[in-house]
Symmetry: D2
Subunit: 258 residues, 4 copies
């Protein structure tokens, strides 16, 4: 039976500011990437979000980002690998505090925004992130973009003694080399729910992606990144989950796959 | 044989800003209270400071404070007990990441500045702090001001299932009720090294403090708070340690006492 | 003809976080209190909000708060009067930059949240705020809670050579001494729109407030504080404005009153 | 008579953290670049530093940086030109508040660290900075790196209607195209005080720089950037000033030159 994980970024509210429909989308996912107070989130939000994940049987992961709340971690910051390693250790550790509070075992670590983007294919940043994960807990699964960089990432994960899980994006188009089409190009985001649902099915059932230029790519995929930003996103996440289940795919957390 | 711990605040540098002579004072103490990025400290400083403590055989504790870098955690902030609990969980967790990195077991938690001050004798804040410590790791020792509040603190620690260690200040004068003389009053800080050394000896050898009005107080004391802010403070910390050892006191970390 | 100003807090979004329906409520007010990046707001939001106020013919004021984004400036912070003065100078100055950009003359300064609350009746904090306003621009009007503290505030404003405007809250109940009923007491906020509209009319037409215990208070009132947090608040602000205009009250910015 | 300005970064302390020997170096410079609370500085420090500049007859400039206190503004941040413009408006405005407090007219704006570096030769960032300066006060002088980018910068300054002043670095080596040698290359910083003094003299007397490869460059230079970070830097700044005066150069603020 084909298995796939569905992950979603959560816990990105801050103080009086609310972001995302966490309470809705949590029903349709298997893994939650929880912000750790750098690009978003605060201790109260982290506490509440870990509790909510536990109550919904959703696995918890750290979602560390750049220390840039004003930019939501979506601006490139030219940090050294040592800085990145320490930022990631700090944030995983902080979230672990709340996992322990709620008796939850942390499952994974998925970097956020431009920390994720900058590290794709970048050996020194990828190694810094893997080193941070391994340092805090070797049972944590490192979630990375699947495809083009998989051999690099596998090598680093193997060096550090951690597991890796590959992620794909149903609502994004891909280049023929397996990288995501830049958001600066038209068509980078798939707006049509039918098309992204179809892409999700191909990803989950066949490990297959058709690039923007028609090239057929095959890549290992363990988890699909979906969204809960607004009612339409939540609705779409639910639809994709239902379509996957209708095709016999088992929605399965990462820890039960890798 | 009489035992006493010597603790000192450390890791309070931030970015390009250096504070404290950590590399000097570490030689004379047995427990380091390491800032966790809220009132001071950053991930690079935390990493370096935990490593330095390990290399010097000094035990590591978390030193959580209010989220107020600009005020160095020395301004009262009217946070709810729930907020305080989550701030403390967050900061202990973050420092634990670096302890794991360096294979160091965290020993204790000592709140910083006005989080420490506001919690003295305050049942709801004290309970919030104790709850945070217990939630993350029941082996952590809660360091609190000895004397006046000891029965309250003992009750809370017992409820939460954690150990408590009582702290005294060789360079501060005390009121007859066992509280510290307010810094707003003249003479609150003992400037004369001979007098503070004498007070340290009385604290360590006899669990005794002579209050400003001459009252003799007896209280349980496990640790003395000393300083490494400047060359004179470091020199004084060394002198007190030497005086204690000359009197046969064993400088012993908290974990070997309580 | 009776004149009254309607003020509303605005520009409290931050980065990706949106707060308040500024674009809606701006149509119904005469003075906007714009956050300055301490308790809320960021440079992009400030720029956009000043422009929007100009386009809608609404006068602009600075809305300085404590440096506590995580607490939205709603926690007491024990800052010295000198710190408060400098925080306020900094924030007024920063907003003035955007006023100059858009060719807008800043009209007033209204402290936010607990900076406002802590300063009510507090001579040293009130003097610090007034000194900051006077230092940057003596044409700025200082907006303060009317009633109980009016003679203190008048004395300070006179010393510093600035004008003062008194504010009242249609949706809050008052004590017999003219202070606001604490939010910790039941009934502090008037939920019934008819009642708060009626109170707004009494405030604007008669300078009169009936306290919770029935006492009739008379106080000078130049501006009513209304809200734009959500659709219901915006609707209510519009209703109050319409009710005032139906009674012949002219909605008039502070600068044309004091 | 040859005139040159000497500028130095100041007011970079923050809260309890002290950086730079401002009180010493202020005696030897003619223009102070004062941090504005983003990469360094806080309202209390800004207040104090503007007052100190006035008391020493030193002209005041804003020294805006990226919003990155932890990185001291020395990390590239991928901000949009619109964000940069608003960051600069905000910071100039904030410092202007303290200038008004002390009756000081702000003279210039010099971006800090990597905001300065990233903008060199970058048309859109340079235009964003110039636009910010022009928006707040057309009398402000824009301080930029002299040499390679001078025609670009002149064009933009002319468009925006502001004056520009060219800066040179006595303690840095230059490439043959007039840019600074990257700090990543050996020899980028001139450690020998005699050599940097000699370079300062050539810059001030002849508008001439000899690049690392021996090429002689001629460029317009209005101000030399010197340092006050430590006793040796202060001593060196004094020596250079004395050497310049001994050669008949008049140390003259920018506003009296351009």
């Amino acid at each position: 039976m084909r298995k796939i994980d569905i992950n979603c970024d959560m816990g990105e509210s801050f103080g009086v500011y609310t972001l995302g429909m966490d309470g809705e989308v949590i029903q349709y996912i298997s893994s939650a990437n929880i912000a750790c107070g750098y690009h978003a989130g605060d201790p109260q939000v982290m506490n509440k979000t870990v509790r909510m994940a536990r109550e919904n049987g959703v696995r918890v992961g750290a979602h560390p980002g750049f220390p840039d709340l004003a930019g939501f971690g979506r601006r490139n910051m030219d940090c050294t690998p040592d800085e990145v390693r320490d930022f990631v250790i700090y944030q995983i550790g902080a979230l672990k505090g709340f996992c322990t509070l709620h008796g939850v075992e942390m499952q994974h670590v998925k970097p956020h925004g431009n920390l994720y983007n900058m590290s794709v294919g970048n050996e020194s940043l990828s190694r810094a992130i893997a080193e941070a994960i391994a340092a805090v807990d070797r049972n944590l699964i490192w979630v990375v973009l699947g495809g083009a960089q998989s051999s690099l990432v596998r090598k680093i994960a193997s060096e550090k003694g951690i597991r890796v899980a590959f992620e794909a994006f149903p609502d994004r188009t891909y280049e023929s080399d397996g990288t995501l089409t830049s958001r600066k190009k038209p068509g980078a985001v798939i707006e049509d729910p039918l098309k992204s649902t179809e892409q999700a099915l191909r990803m989950a059932l066949d490990n297959e992606i058709t690039a923007a230029d028609g090239t057929r790519l095959t890549m290992e995929i363990h988890t699909l990144c979906l969204h809960g930003d607004n009612p339409s996103a939540v609705h779409h996440t639910r639809s994709i989950r239902q379509a996957l289940e209708a095709e016999g795919v088992s929605i399965t957390p990462l820890a039960d796959q890798v």
